[in-house]
């Protein structure tokens, strides 16, 4: 069963795969794996994770707010200086700061929003969603739902491709 990746060479999946493989090869070439100490492994893991996010964000370009926010965050994290400044990125600056603060919390917390308000303003869930989706705090609920849908689609693609690569490697 062939999925449409090869029928649509410009699709999100193929773009992501190309970039990610390139990044992977760079990482492996940069640091040939001699020892498997935990610190090295952790470093490599971080790099690979960043590469995955970056390649996904690059595949989407600047069409989406979340991709812009993610790219901006990765750039500031790696470089320490801001190379690109657009108005949209400035808007999501505080969002990104908050996100890096909340990211670690979110990894461990489970959703406990059972008493959220229903109706037009979904208080608790809406805030959680904003924290999870990159760049989500600078958007109103309507656009936030749009971004969430696209973000979910991209995440599933990412997971699929990475799973296949990992399966190949571990065969």
């Amino acid at each position: 069963m062939y999925n449409p990746d090869h029928t649509k060479p410009g699709s999100l999946k193929s773009r992501f795969t190309t970039r990610f493989l390139r990044a992977l090869s760079k990482i492996h070439a940069h640091k040939p794996i001699s020892s498997s100490s935990p610190t090295e492994m952790f470093q490599r893991y971080q790099r690979i994770k960043a590469a995955a996010d970056k390649s996904m964000a690059y595949s989407v370009r600047s069409r989406r707010t979340w991709s812009r926010a993610m790219l901006w965050k990765l750039r500031t994290r790696s470089c320490g200086r801001r190379s690109v400044k657009t108005s949209t990125i400035i808007k999501s600056q505080q969002a990104i700061m908050k996100k890096t603060r909340h990211e670690k919390q979110n990894e461990n917390t489970t959703t406990t929003a059972t008493t959220g308000e229903d109706g037009v303003g979904f208080c608790v869930e809406e805030d959680e969603l904003r924290e999870i989706v990159p760049g989500g705090e600078a958007m109103d609920l309507c656009n936030l739902l749009d971004e969430t849908a696209h973000y979910i689609k991209c995440l599933t693609t990412q997971v699929q491709v990475m799973k296949k690569i990992a399966d190949f490697y571990s065969l």
Binding site: Y2, H6, T17, T114, L129, T156, Q158
Partner: protein, 356 residues
């Protein structure tokens, strides 16, 4: 006009009286005015509407005041000239406009003074409903002598009345109030309100926004597996948040796995990857990963087996498989079995490049 002095006197009388005493006056004046209505049209060259307007404006106001809302109290004595021209007092205009239809039914109303209120209200209500339904057709025919802005203003009033008449309890009064206030300042917005819903712009915008949000929630429900059965937006959002978090965690786990794997590849892939076609990448990758696999293969005897497996894997892994290219890969695989990993990669890369 002959009847003018009389009307002015009565007008002043009425304006001096309280609201509570109006009913007595009304019953008295009503029959008089009805008679005048019937008789007057000959003296005045205008249509029945302006005749009605001239003669009993305050009485009409106060008449209609009791069966309808208590808000439209004629505070100022309107002049006849005012009514002839533009209508400055929206409350009065709203009351007078139905009155135009009321004049048709003046005969019926004459029959019972005591039961005046109910038939009047009934007639008015029926008039309003009929008027509202046949509104677009009757714009000019009903009030030919009235200028356009007042007609338009009255349409809004009619909408407000319609909300009231239809018994919407939600925001009927406020809708009427707001519409009556807006009519003075803004150009009219001809919107057909749904039953029991207000017509002001705020609620319309809110409704549109809510519909947008609901449409997007539905789309998200389809996207996230298992959300279709859940009803209630809070729970659906919970599910969505869970799903996103699980996806993010999966990405982390997979990247950890990739970090742990020991790829013994010297990826001389830059030259290969500079080519842009995705198909090239697709066909390259199986070949490139091959060197990873072969060093891990223990014995030569298993080579054939693994080749076969590799074929099937290549077929099944859609990302990297294509029937056309599998034919190219198999001869290269035989090469790979004998080559070292680094050489095979470059060899393969060159071969594929030549093919393309």
């Amino acid at each position: 006009m002959e009847s003018n002095p009389g009307t002015t006197e009565t007008r002043s009388n009425l304006t001096a009286s309280d609201g509570g005493q109006v009913t007595a006056f009304e019953s008295l004046q009503f029959t008089d005015e009805i008679h005048r209505l019937i008789l007057a049209p000959t003296t005045i060259n205008a249509s029945s509407f302006t005749a009605l307007v001239e003669l009993p404006p305050p009485q009409a106001v106060e008449l209609l005041h009791s069966p309808d809302s208590t808000k439209f109290i004629a505070a100022k004595p309107p002049n006849v000239e005012d009514f002839k021209g533009s209508f400055r007092f929206p409350s009065n205009t709203s009351l007078i406009e139905p009155d135009a239809r009321f004049s048709v039914f003046s005969g019926e109303a004459n029959n019972g003074n005591e039961n005046r209120d109910s038939p009047v209200s009934k007639i008015l209500n029926s008039n309003l409903e009929k008027a509202v339904k046949s509104e677009p057709a009757e714009t000019e025919s009903a009030q030919p002598l009235v200028s356009d802005p007042p007609v338009e203003k009255r349409r809004i009033k009619r909408k407000g009345r319609e909300n009231k008449v239809k018994g919407s309890t939600k925001k009927s009064k406020t809708a009427v109030n707001e519409s009556s206030e807006d009519a003075e300042k803004l150009p009219y917005v001809h919107v057909r309100a749904r039953r029991g819903q207000a017509t002001d712009s705020h609620s319309l915008a809110e409704r549109a926004r809510r519909e947008k949000i609901n449409a997007r929630m539905k789309f998200l429900q389809e996207l996230v597996p298992g959300c279709n059965k859940i009803s209630g937006t809070a729970l659906v959002l919970d599910e969505i948040i869970n799903h996103v978090q699980s996806l993010q965690r999966q990405v982390e786990f997979l990247s950890m796995r990739l970090a742990a794997v020991n790829p013994r590849i010297d990826f001389n892939l830059d030259s290969v990857f500079t080519s842009e076609s995705g198909s090239l990448m697709d066909s390259n990758f199986p070949g490139l990963v091959m060197p990873v696999m072969w060093p891990e293969v223990q014995g030569d005897g298993h080579r054939q087996q693994y080749q076969h497996q590799w074929n099937s894997d290549a077929l099944q892994q859609p990302v990297w498989g294509r029937e056309v290219h599998n034919n190219y890969i198999t001869p290269e695989k035989s090469l790979l079995t004998y080559d070292s990993s680094a050489n095979s990669v470059t060899l393969q890369a060159n071969q594929l490049k030549m093919e393309l």
